[in-house]
């Protein structure tokens, strides 16, 4: 559970769950996140779970660090098992037009393209967190033979809906942005729907993701 709570500036709590990145620690973070969300402690403006930290921001004109820390510590957490989240299936087209870094990966990992995809599609992934600008999901863990470092020079524009790999993680670019992950394909699904005014995110922390491969014609059909 939480190893330490400190302040992050004058308007946030920094809850430290350790330094390792694994599902067990992350489930603790997510459970804690859900419990705090349920508790409706006044003044909390944001709760941000990540691999092994939870940051609780609050409105300094309503409350302060000592108050929130006490309230958070007093929450009586039952050791309930967090529900496993949803299973979400994501189609991916790996046509050369979309798999921008597959050649680099073949060299870097010393694997044929077919093997890379076989290893990638045969696993289910866990969503550690969603973040950054528009609900970008951080998924893991990859088969360890697929671990690759970031591009030496980040790409200026990674196309929206690209699937990228780096180290033990995989993510989906939910909007066009600069980025250094190794791109292996693209999904026709909008992971972040900026027109959806209630739940814009398809993938949430704690969900399980399985990818499946589609052809370019299927990709184009789904795009219509």
């Amino acid at each position: 559970m939480i190893k330490n709570i400190s302040n992050l500036g004058d308007a946030a709590l920094y809850c430290d769950f350790g330094n390792d990145v694994n599902r067990e620690i992350n489930l603790n973070v997510i459970q804690f996140f859900k419990n705090i969300k349920k508790s409706n402690i006044p003044g909390i403006t944001n709760i941000t779970p990540s691999y092994n930290k939870l940051i609780i921001s609050f409105d300094l004109s309503i409350t302060n660090f000592d108050k929130i820390k006490t309230e958070v510590e007093q929450l009586n957490f039952k050791n309930e098992i967090v529900n496993e989240g949803n299973l979400i299936k994501i189609p991916v087209c790996c046509d050369n037009d979309f798999a921008l870094d597959i050649k680099r990966l073949e060299k870097l990992l010393n694997l044929e393209k077919e093997e890379i995809y076989k290893k990638f599609f045969s696993k289910k992934y866990y969503c550690y967190m969603t973040g950054f600008i528009a609900g970008m999901p951080f998924l893991g863990d990859l088969n360890d033979s697929l671990y690759a470092r970031r591009l030496d020079t980040p790409r200026v524009k990674v196309p929206k809906n690209s699937i990228g790999l780096t180290e033990q993680f995989c993510n989906i670019y939910t909007f066009e942005s600069p980025g250094g992950w190794n791109i292996i394909g693209k999904t026709p699904l909008d992971i972040f729907d900026n027109k959806n005014n209630t739940s814009p995110n398809l993938i949430n922390p704690g969900d399980t993701i399985s990818f499946f491969q589609i052809s370019k014609s299927e990709f184009e059909k789904k795009y219509d």
């Binding site: 500036g9 330094n19 403006t45 941000t48 921001s57 967190m129 950054f132 600008i133 900026n194 922390p205």
Partner: protein, 315 residues
Amino acid sequence: MTENYFEVLRPGINSTFQDNGRKNFYHIGIPFSGAMDNRNFVIANAISNNKKNSPVIEFALQGPKLRYKGDKVYFNVTGDVNFQILRKNKIEEGVCYQNLVLENNDCLDLISTNRSVYGYLSINASFKIDFYLDSCSVNTKAEIGANNGKILQKNQIIKIENITKKYSSNKLDYIVSKIENIRVIKGPHFDYFSETAKELFFKEKFRITKLTDRMGIRLDGPKIENIKYTNIKSEGLVKGTIQITADGDPIVMLSDHGTIGGYPKIGVVISADYDKLVQIPPGSKIKFKEINLKDAETIYKLYEMETRNLISKIK
């Protein structure tokens, strides 16, 4: 009923609709956004007699030029802004912090901010705009908020409704104070940096570079040497967090910042200094000053009191 609207003759550099921002969506990766300089936002709405959280147009450095069509409407501009109202037969120099009138065919030219970055335009009426997740605040990267998540575009129309017919001569005598010292609370990775680096961080000046926008400020100055890890496992951020990049440069997270980041956090700007920090224009130098949590809390209370005082002086 006549239609009331602004026609955008010149959009300005970065003009967006903003309100108080979006709460409680960091966990799904949606930034807070909202008016950068909260005090000037709040004052603008107070002068307009609007509800506290009413949408305004925020502009940066160069503002928009707007032609007004419709029934008489009152407006005010806050910040340190050089502007003019082009009327039928004359040009009128604008005065900030007071209600002024726009009549059919008048042009409001928000020329520039003086030695500051952001200015605010509030009207005694409401903009006819869309809300997304309870806020109109535009985040251009995620393309969310009013105006399809975009900055104002040349020739677009901004519809206006619910015009208040009654004129209130609301006015505030207020001169925005400038600061150079930004107060900072040490961050969770303060000890990732060498003794020399820690000393430099609070001793030397840093220049605000042009790579500065609503997402963040990139600073230029002495390199801050990291003796532990230049990358951390990505974790949450808050407004005002100062991260040190792998190159040793500080970056300060501002209102549109990504919700998570992977650089060590050397410190966090105190809440009371945030509004002033965002107003310091590129090219200026700033200095960080260390402060503890208790003092930061006290200073914030004073800052809030000062804002309330200013609002009570509007007449």
